[in-house]
């Protein structure tokens, strides 16, 4: 059957539209690739999973990785965003990249699919299929090959070499490159990493910069210490003469870079102070704090000899790490300070049948990341003797980030008791810094059948002398807390009433008696005082002035004046004659007028009292009124 031309044309138009739409879709989709550092690892090992995303439509963000049960993520993923903007003859070319590195630890044996992993570009999430990871028992994983220096990139686009593979003769895959040493890019060619940038260059043309991945840790927790070298990209001819290592006296130090990497690893490019710097990671150490406190990492020192314009010392920063002990709460028995990381134990006992007095071999493998302990507490039991183990280490860096590996202990265990002897369980308590909790790695040793031998050495045979002889037997019952009782001296009333009250009572009695006597004496003295007498005399004169006997009034007024002179001026004018009264008062500081008035009144009273015709009451009362005025004047005297 032959179709009509119109039908073919319509089909062609539809096909073209479909192709165009697919092309458009393909342009918007980022390039994603998920890679595993190794496809087979042991239980407790950490594998790095890297997701690379490249897009020309926008910055990939929000990277996510799905992990199945049995695998856990260790720490936060390392994320490196990149941007490249190239303009060729007016044609703008933009590329955004994102590389995310997850550290994943295996917790059990099995085959797992890691992923899918996904990123968001322009509001849409794009995913890439997962990768398969085989997890085998600890220590049985094949040794990992160190990453090749010039490994081909899994990505067709490199942020450090946008021309790679595009222009023949400009490097890239398939084109041999001469060994030119560190790359010498021009500012227009490289993409700088903001994470490598600093506020200002620490030296001209060349400087050093040190970092730690954390500023607080617990004793034994890994602190990753990195030293970077910054070379001015425009002038790489720097000659360094002296080199002094950073001091880390309070830390146990393990290298995280291989011997063949002593020239450093290119970390990227940084824009600092308007210049582009080539950044190389030259040293990376896993530091394990040995004690608590503010521990100092001393600087690394170098001296630049050439060029002369930049000559001088270069040092890294002095860093401080605040180190504490893991919490005491929840600390398992047998925890040794410094056992920090993530560990697993595996043990093999051979043979399982042995004669009494014979020995079995116990092979223990301790694997994991962190400060791998150098000792394991063996289960001490009577009749079982653990000899000093032979220790083999396979420790080193794991992916430039963490330290760990495997440490094996080969024990010879002598069995002196017959029967089915349980060897017990090996356990290693440790602090997991990521989970922030204690955990215990365990390995059960099982039972060994020990055949009795008639002439086997006894449990204590061969011992020169018994250690700690004569220990008493154990007790089987808790005693319990005794009934709480208050002590006499805890009660304040005991001190007040029991001890202090007796002397206080005696003191009060003595004091009260003495005070009473003193008051009595004071009262008597007060009663005989001039003031008291004046008061009495004034009252008597008042009473007398209301009577009809003029002589009595004058006598009372005279006595009141005499008492007032005594009380207010301290002068005894009794018996003084004539001008002697005024003179005595004047000598006592009494004003002349007041003294004269008192002297006159005394004389008038004397005359009236002893006058033969007597005096009338009215004039006597008048004298009393004047006398009171004189007494008030005397009283007001300054």
């Amino acid at each position: 059957m032959i179709a009509r031309p119109g039908t073919w044309l319509a089909a062609l138009v539809v096909l073209l539209a479909l192709v165009c739409s697919l092309d458009a879709f393909a342009q918007g989709k980022p390039q994603l690739q998920l890679q595993l550092e190794a496809d087979t690892i042991g239980v407790g090992d950490v594998v790095h999973v890297q997701l690379g995303a490249q897009s020309s439509d926008g910055q990939p963000t929000e990277a996510r990785l799905e992990l199945p049960a049995g695998l856990i993520q260790r720490g936060q993923p390392s994320t490196s965003p990149t941007q490249t903007h190239i303009n060729i003859n007016g044609n703008q070319m933009d590329r955004w990249g994102l590389t995310v590195d997850w550290a994943v630890q295996a917790q059990r044996v099995g085959v797992f699919t890691i992923g899918p992993a996904s990123v968001v570009v322009g509001g849409t999430r794009f995913a890439v299929r997962g990768a398969t990871l085989h997890v085998v028992p600890a220590g049985q994983a094949p040794l990992r090959q160190p990453p090749q220096q010039q490994a081909p990139s899994p990505f067709p686009f490199s942020p450090f070499d946008p021309w790679k593979g595009l222009i023949p003769g400009f490097g890239g895959q398939g084109f041999p490159q001469p060994d030119l040493g560190p790359p010498q890019p021009t500012p227009q060619q490289v993409t700088t990493d903001p994470k490598l940038a600093l506020d200002a260059p620490r030296g001209a043309l060349y400087f050093l910069h040190a970092t730690v991945d954390k500023t607080s840790a617990v004793v034994g927790e890994q602190v990753t210490f990195s030293i970077y070298e910054y070379d001015d990209a425009s002038d790489p001819s720097v000659e360094v003469q002296e080199d002094h290592e950073a001091t880390t006296a309070d830390f146990a130090r393990q290298p995280l870079m291989r011997m063949d990497q002593n020239e450093g690893i290119l970390a990227g490019y940084a824009a600092i102070g308007g210049r582009t710097w080539v950044v190389k990671l030259i040293q990376r150490w896993a530091l394990f704090p040995l004690r608590a406190g503010d521990l100092v990492i001393g600087p690394k020192n170098e001296i630049v000899a050439r060029p002369r314009s930049a000559a001088g010392p270069r040092t890294t920063e002095t860093l401080t790490v605040h180190v504490t002990e893991p919490p005491a709460a929840g600390r398992p028995p047998g925890y040794a300070l410094g056992d920090v990381g993530r560990f697993s134990l595996a043990a093999q006992v051979t043979p399982r049948d042995v004669d009494q007095g014979g020995a079995v071999g116990v092979h223990v493998e301790l694997s994991g990341t962190g400060n791998v302990p150098s000792k394991i507490a063996t289960p001490a039991r009577e009749g079982i003797e653990w000899l000093t183990p032979e220790v083999h280490d396979q420790l080193g860096s794991i992916g430039h980030e963490s330290f760990g590996g495997k440490r094996s202990f080969d024990y010879v265990v002598r069995l002196r008791r017959a029967g089915d002897v349980s060897l017990g369980e090996l356990s290693l308590p440790f602090w997991d810094p990521d989970a922030k909790k204690y955990d215990v790695a365990r390995a059960s040793l099982g039972t060994v059948h020990v055949k009795p031998v008639a002439n086997a050495p006894a449990a204590s045979a061969g011992e020169p002398e018994e250690t700690l002889p004569g220990l008493p037997p154990p007790v089987d019952k808790l005693e319990g807390e005794p009934a709480r009782r208050a002590h006499l001296d805890d009660v304040p009333i005991f001190w007040l009433l029991g001890v202090a009250s007796w002397p206080v009572a005696f003191g009060l009695a003595v004091g009260a008696t003495r005070a009473g006597k003193r008051m009595s004496r004071a009262w008597s003295a007060r009663r005989a005082s001039p003031a008291a007498e004046l008061k009495e005399r004034l009252a008597a004169a008042d009473v007398a002035s209301e009577g009809s006997d003029a002589r009595q009034v004058d006598a009372a007024v005279a006595r009141a004046l005499e008492a007032a002179a005594m009380a207010h001026a301290g002068v005894n004018v009794r018996g003084a004659l004539g001008g002697e009264v005024a003179a005595r008062l004047a000598r006592a500081g009494v004003a002349e007028g007041a003294a004269s008035r008192i002297a006159d009144l005394l004389r008038e009273c004397e005359m009236a009292r002893f006058s033969p015709e007597g005096a009338d009451v009215a004039s006597a009362r008048d004298r009393w009124v004047r006398a009171r005025g004189a007494i008030r004047d005397l009283e007001r005297r300054p």
């Binding site: 028995p333 507490a377 003797e385 220990l471 001890v499 002397p503």
Partner: protein
Amino acid sequence: MKPWLFALLASLVVAVVAMADRTARADDVETPAVLFAKGAQALREGRASDAITALEELADRGTVDPAASYDRGLAYAMRVRIGAEVPGDLGRAAHGFEEARDLTHDGKLAEAASRALAVVRSEVARRRTRAGEPVEVDAGRSLSRTVSSLLAEDTWCVLAAMGSAILAIGLFVRWIARARRLRAGAGVAAGLAAPVTLLAIAMALAARHDRLEEREAVVVAHGSRPSDERGMVVPGATTLPEGARVEVVESRDTRARIRFGRLDAWVPTGAIRELARWP
């Protein structure tokens, strides 16, 4: 199935599951008595490490009991005896026995703890002799603490109250009496009561201070060298004997200031273990 029958069966299933869960949870958390029994059982069977694990867990939970401390000391001593000694075991054994002796009100347990302590300290002394170090393991207590511990705290209190009363009455009688003999007798009584009262008050206060404030510890590290406040090793000072009882004066971060006899120095806190007291 009828709805009411279904509801009844469902309720029964839920109840059984809930009870099983509750029982399982109760089994998960071991009581102090269960932990102690596990430790004591392990001790009887010669499983020193298991006994230590159980009894240390008991201590970590804050359980204070002289029997647990005593058995813990025995567990560490057993580990030494069976040749699986870990450095510090002798000190930890001494710590358990000292703690048991301090805490117990049972005369038999106190006697057993004292006997075990003597065995452990003899071993420490023997090793120090071999190493050419001073043998003195127990520096003893100061004179005032020795005197204050002669009588019970409450006895000192009663003595202080009686002395105070006699002093006051004697002075009062001497003050008011007219008869010469009576005055003399009252004066003598007051004169004797005054120093007795002062001594009793001082001893009661010292005993109270010891009870409430004093912190003591046992050296649980082998070869711990005393240092000064700056962390420099005290010149001429020998290592502290493992298992020695020391007074803790103060603690700072990872170091503690201790008194051992006439020695007043600093040691790492990990080198000593404080003696528990009744809460």
